[in-house]
Amino acid sequence: MTDDHANRDLFSDPSFLRGLTQRRFTRRDVLRGVGAGAGTLSVAALLAACGTKGVAPAGSGAANAGIGTADWWAKQKKTDQLNFANWPYYIDTSHGKHPSLEDFTKQTGIDVNYTEPIDDNTSFFAKIRPQLQAGQYCGYDIVVLTNNDAPLSQMISFGWGIPLDHSKMPNFDKYASPLVTNPSWDPGNKFTMAWQSGYTCIGYNTKYIKEPITSIQSLWDPKYKGKIGMMGIATELGSFGMLALGIDPATSTPDDWQKAADKLEQQKPLVRSYYDQSYIHALKNEDIWISMVWSGDIFQAATYQGYPQLKAVIPTDGAMFWTDNMIMPLYAQNPASAMTYMDSVYDPNVAAEIEDYNAYVCPVPSAKEIILNDLKDPAVANNPTVFPDKTVESRSKDYFEFKNSQELTEWNNTFVPIFQG
């Protein structure tokens, strides 16, 4: 092949023409291309880098190794402070002060920083979770979580609770009610002591509903259309749906859940709204006449807040029994003070003082006599929803216990669409 030949053929060579007419791929293009590619990659890397590790399985972490053992407890010194996180309106209150806490401070020298940041188990747990996950003190030595919601069992299964010092629980051992000792959600009370228990039952306004309400079926009564309140809380709503069908929630199956959901779906046109704790305002404002309620709320409203027409009943079909538990989060700064306090509320005198205000279910049966004789408050002492009698106890039903996240998700997927959507 000669040069001549090459020159002649150059213009018929398509690649030569392409080179003349089209832009060449310059160094700048290469750089730009690399830049763009790197940009895409870095966005991808950035998006991918945001994954979280989650929680180490319980017990395997070095962080909580040894915490809660007898040796560890022996090393804990008493401090003069205690940070206690509780739910609103859940302790004796008089003129903005809490007499039972003041007495405790007088006796022990421990200053209790009592706060009420919890109005929902899951959202409160979401707030303290990042600190616990990072191995830090969450700011509270005692938090109160309910047995019917996921956070309590998660605290326990993640190893985020400090095991109790069983040598320092004389009052609990002596006075605690069998309802709250060795509970199914915390066998042997390894991590928790009950603060209060309560019933999810029926409350109604006797001004508008003259007939005595005895059954959950009244919540399905078309007479009360638009005046029925239900709870927009999946565990509560689903359990009540099952009680209405005569199914025991504790031993229910996903098939039962579906039946309950169908039953609740039928009820939907009659229901005014699905409430959180705001149902109590709706009842007081007469927006609803009959509702799913928490026993103590109705008692407090009727006795102390000027709504004597409100009444709570334990229906014949059953009522859900729940317990709010005190637990010490891992890395608590004042564990010895927390132990002292938690046991002190099982002293019958202290329990009576707290219960006379709360009127939920008292974890100390012997407080009954003190409320009756010393505090002279028969309305609380003789109330079967505070000190359950045999009839009420026989109607108590336990919640379903979720064994894994799939069950919880399935439950939520079954019942959340009833109140949302």
Binding site: C50, V55, D120, R129, V271, F419
Partner: protein, 306 residues
């Protein structure tokens, strides 16, 4: 240009060194002044945004919250189809509340701007006064005012002007009314700014040219207020469509907005990917809608009013 002219003037030496130093200062100043805001945006807007977008493509365990990137793009169509009615409802409620606000706020802003006189600031303060009380408390107050046997409906029912079963709470009307009430100042303030800027001589000129009052309003005032209307719409509609407080306090079954769904996905289900995907979809829908809307209104001076 100015320096060039000055350098040409006789007897004036070109201030070269000083000028270059000034130019350097001028070049750097905007960045220095913008740095705090830029840093703020990077930390409190960009980082959360990227985290949210990233989470929406991950797969998480609802209990341990261990998440790993799986590029799960299927999350998006799935969430859209599951919650389409909530999306539509949010846009409808937000839109209705915004239109109500525009209708109510325009005369209000107009009156303050044109007839407020010396007391303009006082009237503006009155408009903002409710903001000194928490958003949630104000909404709760409405649930008391509108309650079935409350001040309004209790009275009307006792006079037999309304049937016993009549109620506003737990309906869509209550939710839209609550949103409209809560966001009114967001609508009124940009409208006021736009109307306040109108040169009164322009209106006089229109009058001199024999325009009727209605024509002055339609042909002069309204076009000059368009940037304000645009800004008012944005500032009201965007947060209103994402609101969840009003629906949860004033609404009932069937009034769920997308904000409530996102809250439940986060807090009840612990399902961070679906909640993030829903947030991203809401943001995307809003951005596309606003882009189209700004093209139609063609408002280039918008940045002056926000």
């Amino acid at each position: 240009v100015e320096q060039h002219v000055r350098a040409d003037l006789p007897g004036v030496a070109p201030p070269r060194r000083e000028g270059s130093r000034k130019r350097f200062g001028q070049r750097v100043a905007p960045y220095v002044l913008g740095a705090p805001a830029g840093l703020w945006l990077a930390i409190f807007f960009l980082v959360p945004l990227v985290t949210m977008l990233s989470l929406s493509l991950q797969t998480c365990d609802p209990v341990t919250l261990a998440c790993s990137m799986t590029w799960n793009f299927a999350e998006f169509p799935q969430q859209i189809s599951t919650y389409s009615s909530e999306f539509v409802r949010s846009i409808a409620y937000g839109g209705a509340a915004t239109v109500i606000d525009l209708i109510v706020a325009f005369p209000l802003a107009y009156w303050i701007a044109f007839y407020g006189g010396k007391r303009k600031n006082f009237f503006l303060l009155m408009l903002l006064l409710p903001f000194f009380v928490s958003f949630v408390i104000r909404t709760l107050a409405w649930s008391f005012i509108l309650s079935d046997s409350g001040i309004i409906f209790g009275t009307l029912k006792s006079w037999h002007l309304l049937p016993e079963s009549y109620h506003i709470l737990s309906t869509g009307t209550a939710v839209v009314a609550g949103i409209a009430y809560n966001f009114l100042p967001f609508t009124a303030l940009p409208l006021y700014v736009a109307l306040e800027r109108i040169d009164h001589r322009v209106l006089e000129a229109a009058g001199d040219l024999y325009a009727t009052k209605a024509r002055v309003f339609l042909k002069v005032i309204l076009p000059l207020a368009v940037p304000g209307i645009f800004a008012a719409f944005l500032l009201t509609f965007v947060p209103a469509a994402g609101d969840f407080v009003n629906a949860s306090i004033l609404g009932g079954p069937g009034n769920t907005m997308i904000g409530n769904v996102i809250q439940t996905r986060f807090l009840v289900f612990n399902d961070y990917p679906s909640a993030s995907a829903l947030s991203a979809i809401l943001m995307g829908v809003m951005l596309v809608g606003i882009f189209a809307y700004s093209k139609i209104l063609g408002s280039r001076t918008i940045e002056e009013y926000i």
